[in-house]
């Protein structure tokens, strides 16, 4: 699968697929090797699904964007549903991999959350519509992959939170840790949505803001595991 990458003839070679009709990965229009067309179609499908959602995206339009006829698309991807699932799964894996890599690049739980958040936000900002794709997955085929992605991210956070608390010598109700992880996870999702709609604030600043919001709470919980409303000052 990966070894087909360099089968292109000599070209001014930009790495990623061009989205305009005509040239594909350095090839002139028409008659392109199967593997190249496939990558191009996959990339375009991802964009298209991200823009329109599953139902509204038509295979005719995909074919048209790829500058190719429909049977070619069907020959490459099998069916609309299969294509969609593949796109969603790929995006999910990509996200999980990116964030996990960020998290594992650090030792300190504090730094881990920061690194994970930065990785997440940068992936969201990046071109290709992976994030939109995941967000627009509704009750269509592909809802389960999305739920899996969310669960995965939250599991990572559950791990992080639990780790932080353990380091502080505190153990908490598993449900509570999970609830916190899920809400923190979606808090970052919401932050990402807001961030994209607004001016570009440096990622590191956003992450600082989030850290300042969440860490005191976690630390406070560590100090009073079964606390009700907080006393005025700590």
């Amino acid at each position: 699968m990966a070894s087909l990458e360099n089968s292109a003839p000599s070209s001014p070679g930009s790495g990623s697929a061009a989205s305009a009709t005509g040239d594909v990965g350095g090839y002139r229009r028409g008659r392109v090797p199967r593997a190249v067309r496939e990558r191009q179609v996959l990339a375009l499908a991802r964009e298209l699904f991200a823009e329109r959602g599953y139902q509204q995206a038509s295979m005719d339009e995909l074919a048209s964007r790829a500058g190719v006829s429909k049977p070619v698309v069907y020959d490459l991807v099998g069916s609309k549903e299969a294509l969609y699932l593949r796109c969603v799964e790929l995006a999910g894996e990509e996200l999980a991999q990116v964030v996990t890599k960020g998290v594992l690049s650090q030792e300190d739980p504090d730094a881990r959350l920061r690194a994970g958040a930065i990785a997440f936000l940068e992936w969201v900002a990046e071109e290709g519509g992976g994030w939109d794709l995941l967000l627009t997955a509704g009750p269509e085929p592909g809802a389960e992959p999305l739920i899996q992605v969310r669960a995965q991210q939250s599991a990572l956070l559950t791990m992080l939170t639990g780790e932080t608390l353990t380091q502080m010598g505190v153990e908490l109700d598993q449900w509570r840790v999970e609830a916190i992880a899920h809400s923190v996870n979606t808090a970052f999702e919401g932050l990402a949505i807001w961030w994209r709609a607004n001016q570009q604030i440096p990622v590191t600043e956003l992450v600082d803001w989030m850290a300042e919001i969440f860490f005191p709470g976690i630390k406070a919980i560590a100090d009073s595991p079964h606390a009700r409303p907080l006393p005025p000052t700590s």
Copy 2:
């Protein structure tokens, strides 16, 4: 509009519309006053859209669920898109109203956040699929209403956060307050999603957890060096 409520003949009168084919609001099958059919169709449409999303929900199925033929539905609601927008808008207004009412029922910012959160979670838990309806609104018609709903909730939170900080004698960068509001807002969304998929934990406990997570952070920010103290009097 509201005065048509009691036009039903003597009946064992349950207040809300029955969802089974046959009886509607106390009427026997067939030939029901327009206003009653309309309420029934609206309620069923909301459920249907919540279950399937816009595209997958078919007007044929809606008609069938209502135990009525399609032209009747079209006569009542105009078009699929109009019906959907109406459902989404209604749900949005309902949510905004419920949360706002909760918030305004308290004076202390701390208590306001709690009350708003409880109102939100209880509305989500309630039957009728209003929350699912809002969640499944993708890039279909109706995306803008959803965005508006989120914006509205976040605005409420921006207000709350700003208020809390003001009470502490601190003023913060507007962007930062907004970012915090949006992330806290979606944090609650995520909590709601998790909550519904899991065992029923008492709402008040969930809200306690959230409060313990968020308030220390907000208070810490008030003390942080980035915060500008408010000018003496204004």
